[in-house]
C-alpha cells in the first residue's frame, strides 16, 4: 500500500489540501478560544497542525443528527384520523478530514466494526463514512498522556486513514511525505498534482516514525495486555477496587465525548413549534458515565453508582469489545480522556492495576 507516496513542501500544503478537497468540505483543526476543534476549512486557509482537543469523530458521527422528520397529517374530512409521514432524507456532503492523528483515524476503524461490519449496518454512519476521506498526520512527539503503543495503535498507524502524512525535515525546508493508504486515498492525492516522494524522503519518514515510537517506549513501555480482558472480568465484582478507582470520578461525560472510539448514542423525539404537527427524531451522543444511560422506564437503574459506570467504561474498552472483535481493544491510547478529565482519572492506571492479578486489594 505504501507504493503511492507524494511529497508536499511545507509551503505547498494549503494549496495541496485545496486540490485534494476539491468537491468536498474539508475539516481541519482550528483554534477556537482555548481549544482546538475540527471546523470546515476555507480554501487557501493555512491549516493548524496541532492535535485537536476534540477528535474528528463528529464529522462522521455527529454530536446530534436528525434521523428523520415526522409529519402528522390530518384527514381533512375527519380530523380524528391522523397519519404520520416520515421524511428521512439525509443531507450528506462529501467531506475530507485533515489533521487527525493516527489514534483519531483508528477510531473510525473501531466504529466500522460496529456500524459497518457488524450484524447491523447503520445507514447514516455508512453514508458519511463512505463520503469522507481521512487524511491523517503522523505524530512526531509523545505527549505525557499518549499511550497509543499499548493498544495496537501507534504514532504512524494508518488504520482508518485514507492518506497518512508524515512531517519530514524542519522549518521552511521541511515538508510532508504523503502516503496513500487506500484506493480512494490514491485518487485524492492524485488530484493535488504533487511530486513523488523520493527514497530519501521515504527514509526520513520512516525515521520519524521510529523516533516517535522510541520516545513513546521510553516514556512508558507498553505492558502486556493480553490477559486484561479476562482479568477485568475477574475484577468485575471487586467493589472496593472499583470504588477506589472511581472515588474521584465526577460522572461527567468528558471522557466519552472526547474519545475517538466511543460510539454510544441516545434517540429522542423533539417536536417543532409551528403548527405542532411536525417533529424530528434525533440521534445524539450519549455516554455510559451518565446515570440516565442505563435508567430503565420503571425507574430502576442497574448501574446506580459511578463505580459501576466506570467499571463498564473500562470493561467495555478493554474486555467486552476485544472479546467480540478479535482482541481489538476499543481504545487507541490517545489520552484525551485523561487530559480532558477535570480530575485526571487515568484509564492507564485502571487497566494496569486491574491486569496485575491479585493486586494489594484488602479483599484479595
Amino acid at each position: 500500500m505504501m507504493s503511492f507516496a507524494r511529497y508536499i513542501a511545507r509551503g505547498e500544503l494549503a494549496r495541496a489540501l485545496d486540490d485534494m478537497a476539491r468537491g468536498r468540505v474539508a475539516y481541519a483543526p482550528r483554534r477556537e478560544g482555548d481549544a482546538v476543534v475540527f471546523r470546515p476549512r476555507a480554501e487557501g486557509e493555512e491549516p493548524l497542525l496541532a492535535r485537536a482537543t476534540v477528535p474528528p469523530k463528529g464529522v462522521i458521527f455527529p454530536q446530534s443528527e436528525r434521523l428523520f422528520a415526522f409529519i402528522r397529517e390530518k384527514d381533512p374530512n375527519d380530523p380524528g384520523r391522523t397519519t404520520v409521514r416520515l421524511d428521512s432524507t439525509v443531507d450528506i456532503e462529501p467531506a475530507l478530514i485533515f489533521g487527525g492523528r493516527p489514534c483519531d483515524a483508528r477510531g473510525f476503524h473501531i466504529f466500522d466494526r460496529v456500524y459497518l461490519n457488524g450484524p447491523y449496518r447503520d445507514p447514516y454512519y455508512a453514508a458519511r463514512r463512505e463520503a469522507t476521506v481521512v487524511v491523517t498526520l503522523a505524530c512526531t512527539k509523545a505527549g505525557s498522556t499518549c499511550f497509543c503503543h499499548w493498544t495496537g495503535c501507534g504514532p504512524a498507524d494508518a488504520t482508518g486513514s485514507d492518506i497518512l502524512l508524515t512531517p519530514v525535515g524542519g522549518g521552511d525546508e521541511g515538508g510532508f511525505v504523503a502516503m496513500a493508504v487506500t484506493e480512494r486515498g490514491c485518487a485524492v492525492l492524485e488530484q493535488a498534482n504533487l511530486p513523488e516522494a523520493d527514497a530519501a524522503r521515504m527514509d526520513a519518514a520512516q525515521a520519524v516514525h521510529a523516533a516517535t515510537q522510541a520516545a513513546l517506549d521510553a516514556q512508558s513501555p507498553a505492558p502486556d495486555l493480553s490477559a486484561t480482558p479476562a482479568r477485568l472480568l475477574e475484577r468485575f465484582s471487586d467493589a472496593d477496587f472499583w470504588r477506589d478507582m472511581s472515588d474521584k470520578c465526577l460522572s461527567c461525560g468528558a471522557c466519552t465525548y472526547l474519545c475517538p472510539t466511543c460510539y454510544c448514542f441516545n434517540i429522542t423525539d423533539e417536536n417543532d413549534g409551528g403548527d405542532g404537527m411536525r417533529g424530528r427524531r434525533l440521534r445524539s451522543w450519549d455516554n455510559c458515565m451518565s446515570s440516565l444511560f442505563t435508567r430503565e422506564a420503571s425507574g430502576h437503574n442497574p448501574r446506580m453508582g459511578k463505580a459501576l459506570r466506570l467499571r463498564n467504561r473500562v470493561g467495555h474498552k478493554f474486555s467486552y469489545y476485544p472479546q467480540l472483535h478479535e482482541g481489538v481493544v476499543s481504545c487507541n491510547g490517545c489520552g484525551r480522556c485523561i487530559t480532558g478529565c477535570p480530575v485526571s482519572v487515568d484509564i492507564r492506571e485502571m487497566v494496569v492495576r486491574a491486569t496485575q492479578a491479585n493486586e494489594e486489594t484488602p479483599n484479595a
Partner: protein, 652 residues
C-alpha cells in the same frame, strides 16, 4: 388524546371582530383536535348541551372553549365537562373576548391571535391530567381576633350557632372603639347602653373563652386545622381571684398612669379597671408607672386587695388553641394628627381629636360628661370641627375617605349644642358623605335644628390668639378666606389600619393593602373572605367602617364559619404541588420558600425528601420555580404545561 374545540361568538361580542368559524376551522388542524365548532353562546343552556353531546359523540377526553375569561366561566364549563363524564381538569379556556375581541378592531389580527390562543390552550390541554380532591376532618372551633363590636358580634353569633369560640383581645377589656363613644349616630343612642349587654353576653356565654390582654403570637396549620399560640400578657393581677371591686384603684398612690381608655385626656391610677362596664371587669397594673415596679416599694394594692389577687411576679403565658377557622376583627386606629404642623402638631392643648372629644362628652369620661377644654377647664362657646384630618389627603399618604367622620362630626356638633346650649359650632368640610339609612337626614337636622354652621372648605392653619385659637380657612362657596376665633378645635381624625396589622396579616398569611387594611377575597362578592382558606374578616380591619357595617360583617363572617363547619369534612383543591420522590434530592429549597409551611421533610429509605401537605398547599407554585431539577411540580401548571404554551409561541 381526542380534543374538542368550541369557539364562541358571544353574540357579536367576539363574532364582531373575530372570524369565529375561521378560528374553529383552523383549530381542526391542531394536534389531537378531533372536533371543533363555533357556537353562539357557549355558556348558554344549548351551548353547554352541545359540548356535552360532542364529548359523547366524538369520545372526547379533553375540551377547549374559546370564549370569555376563565375568571368568569371556567367553573361553568368545568361542571359541563364533568356532566359529560370527563374530569373537570381536562378542560382549558382560551380568552378571546377580554383579551382579543374587546381590545382591538383589526379583524385579521384578532382572528390570528384567537387562533394562537386556542393553539396554546390545546398544547396545554394535551399535557393535562385528571386531578382529584381529597377530604379531611375539621376542628369545629373558631378563633376571633379582636373584641370590638365586630368581633363581639362574630363571637356571639358563632357561639349561638353552637361552636366553641376563642376570643382574643389586645386590651384588658373588650368593647373596642365603640366602648369609648358617648352616643352613636344617627339615633343618638347611648353607646354603652347598646354595647354593654353584648359585652356581658360574651363574658357569660358558655361557648366563649375570652383572653383579654392577650395577643396572637403564632398561627400554624390550615383551614379546618389551625394551631394558634396566644400570648397572655402579664396583668400582675390574678384574674381568677380579682372581683373587680375597685378598692385597689381607690387606694393606689400612683395616679399618673397614662389613661389610654380616655384617649390620654387626663391620667389614671397605675392599677386600674379601664371603665365601670369593662369586660372582664378585672384590674391590671401598668408596670411603667406603678411604684412597686418603678421604685421597688409600695405594695399598697397587694395590702388592700380583699382576695389577695395581686401578683407582682406574674409573667407572660403562652397557650395553644386548636381551631378550624379564624375571624379577624382587629379594627382600626386613629390617624396621628400631629403630622399636621399647621394645626399645631400637638402643641395646642385645646386642639383635640374627635375621640378625645367623645370622652369629654361621655358621662363616664374624665370630666363626667361636662365639656371642659383641656387647657383651662373652661366651657367652650365656639367649637370648630375640622373634617378630613388624615382622610382624603395624599400628602400624608391617606388618600382614602374614612367614611364615618362626617357622621360622627355631625353627631358631636349636635351633642355640643345639647351640652352647651349657648354655644356655636362650625364644621369645616369638603363634602358631606352621609350615605346610610337616616344619615343625610341626621346631618340636615344638625344644620337645621341645631344651627351647626357648615363651612365648605379646608382649614389652612390654626393660630393661638390670646386664649382663643384663630382658625383660618376658606369658604369655597363664598369664594372667600374666612376665620373663626374658637375656644376649642376638634379634629375629625381619619381611620388607619390597626397598628401591628401587617404583622398579623403575615402570621395569618393574608394580604393587606398599602395602608395595612386586610384584603378581602373579592371586593364585591367575597367581602368577608380572604384568599387564605378558613380566615375571615369582620369590621374595620378590612377598611374603615361604621358600627352597623362592622356588626353586619361580624355576623357575615360568623355565617361563613358556620357554613364551613356545617360540612363534616372539607375538600382540598387538587391544583397543588406534588413531589416526584425519585427526582427529589432533598435540598430543602422548597421548604425554605413555601409561604404556607406546606412542605415538610419525610424520610424515604434513609434519605430525606420533601413532601407536600395537601391540605395546606395553596397552589402558588413558588416551590416549583425554586426546585432546580423540577422534582416538585404544581399540578395543572407544571413546567411542561407552561413550556408547551411557550413552545407553541416561540419554537419555530
Amino acid at each position: 388524546m381526542r380534543i374538542g374545540v368550541f369557539v364562541c361568538h358571544c353574540g357579536s361580542n367576539i363574532g364582531g371582530t373575530v372570524d369565529v368559524p375561521g378560528v374553529a376551522q383552523v383549530a381542526r388542524a391542531y394536534p389531537d383536535v378531533v372536533f371543533s365548532s363555533d357556537t353562539m353562546y357557549a355558556c348558554s343552556e344549548p351551548g353547554q348541551a352541545a359540548i356535552v353531546d360532542a364529548i359523547r359523540e366524538h369520545a372526547l377526553d379533553g375540551v377547549v372553549v374559546a370564549s370569555c375569561t376563565p375568571r368568569m366561566h371556567e367553573p361553568t364549563f368545568r361542571r359541563t365537562v364533568e356532566r359529560a363524564g370527563l374530569n373537570r381538569y381536562m378542560f382549558e379556556m382560551a380568552n378571546i373576548r377580554e383579551h382579543v375581541s374587546w381590545i382591538g378592531k383589526d379583524r385579521e389580527a384578532n382572528s390570528n391571535k384567537a387562533a394562537e390562543l386556542v393553539r396554546m390552550a390545546v398544547e396545554k390541554l394535551r399535557l393535562n391530567a385528571p386531578l382529584y380532591p381529597k377530604s379531611f376532618d375539621v376542628t369545629k372551633r373558631v378563633l376571633v381576633i379582636g373584641g370590638g363590636v365586630a368581633g363581639i358580634q362574630a363571637a356571639l353569633d358563632c357561639a349561638d350557632g353552637g361552636i366553641e369560640v376563642v376570643l382574643v383581645e389586645r386590651e384588658s377589656t373588650i368593647g373596642g372603639k365603640m366602648a369609648k363613644l358617648d352616643k352613636t349616630f344617627p339615633t343618638v343612642d347611648c353607646s354603652s347602653c347598646i354595647l354593654g349587654p353584648k359585652m356581658v353576653d360574651v363574658s357569660q356565654h358558655p361557648n366563649i373563652r375570652l383572653y383579654a390582654h392577650a395577643e396572637v403570637e403564632k398561627i400554624g396549620g390550615y383551614v379546618g386545622n389551625f394551631k394558634v399560640d396566644v400570648r397572655r400578657k402579664a396583668t400582675y393581677v390574678d384574674w381568677e381571684l380579682c372581683t373587680g371591686c375597685g378598692l385597689c384603684m381607690e387606694k393606689c398612690p400612683s395616679k399618673k398612669s397614662p389613661d389610654a381608655f380616655n384617649e390620654h385626656v387626663g391620667v389614671t391610677t397605675s392599677i386600674n379597671i379601664p371603665f365601670p362596664q369593662a369586660i372582664p371587669k378585672k384590674a391590671i397594673i401598668d408596670p411603667t408607672s406603678c411604684r412597686q415596679f418603678v421604685k421597688g416599694k409600695c405594695g399598697v394594692c397587694a395590702k388592700v386587695c380583699p382576695t389577695g389577687a395581686i401578683r407582682y411576679d406574674m409573667e407572660d403565658q403562652v397557650v395553644t388553641e386548636e381551631v378550624g377557622a379564624i375571624i379577624t376583627a382587629t379594627g382600626y386606629d386613629l390617624f396621628d394628627y400631629t403630622r399636621y404642623a399647621e394645626y399645631g402638631g400637638g402643641r395646642y392643648p385645646d386642639v383635640i381629636t374627635s375621640l378625645q372629644y367623645e370622652r369629654l362628652l361621655s358621662a363616664s369620661g374624665p370630666t363626667g360628661g361636662h365639656v371642659k377644654r383641656p387647657s383651662d377647664g373652661k366651657e367652650p362657646k365656639t367649637v370648630v370641627f375640622i373634617q378630613c384630618v388624615g382622610s382624603r389627603d395624599r400628602s400624608v399618604d391617606r388618600p382614602y375617605c374614612s367614611g364615618f367622620c362626617c357622621m360622627y362630626t355631625a353627631k358631636q356638633a349636635v351633642l355640643t349644642k345639647d351640652h352647651i346650649p349657648d354655644s356655636r359650632s362650625y364644621v369645616f368640610y369638603m363634602d358631606i358623605r352621609a350615605n346610610g339609612k337616616m344619615y343625610e337626614e341626621f346631618t340636615r337636622r344638625a344644620m337645621e335644628e341645631y344651627g351647626v354652621q357648615y363651612v365648605r372648605g379646608r382649614v389652612s392653619m390654626i393660630v393661638p390668639q390670646g386664649d382663643k385659637y384663630l382658625v383660618r380657612g376658606v369658604d369655597t362657596l363664598l369664594g372667600e378666606q374666612v376665620e373663626v376665633p374658637a375656644d376649642l378645635v376638634v379634629l375629625a381624625v381619619g381611620a388607619e389600619s390597626s397598628h401591628g396589622a401587617p404583622q398579623l396579616a403575615e402570621k395569618l398569611r393574608i394580604s393587606y393593602d398599602n395602608y395595612g387594611f386586610f384584603m378581602e377575597s373579592h371586593c364585591k362578592l367575597r367581602p368577608v373572605e380572604t384568599n387564605t382558606a378558613g380566615v375571615y374578616l369582620a369590621g374595620a380591619c378590612q377598611g374603615p367602617k361604621d358600627i352597623p357595617s362592622s356588626v353586619g360583617q361580624g355576623s357575615a363572617a360568623a355565617a361563613k364559619v358556620l357554613g364551613l363547619f356545617s360540612r363534616g369534612r372539607l375538600e382540598s383543591d387538587p391544583q397543588i404541588s406534588q413531589v416526584d420522590v425519585r427526582r427529589c434530592v432533598g435540598c430543602g429549597k422548597c421548604i425554605t420558600t413555601c409561604p404556607y409551611g406546606a412542605i415538610e421533610w419525610m424520610e424515604l429509605r434513609g434519605e430525606m425528601k420533601a413532601r407536600v401537605i395537601e391540605t395546606v398547599c395553596q397552589g402558588c407554585g413558588i416551590c416549583t420555580v425554586t426546585c432546580p431539577q423540577g422534582a416538585i411540580q404544581l399540578q395543572h401548571f407544571t413546567d411542561n404545561q407552561i413550556l408547551a404554551e411557550v413552545n407553541a409561541l416561540c419554537l419555530s
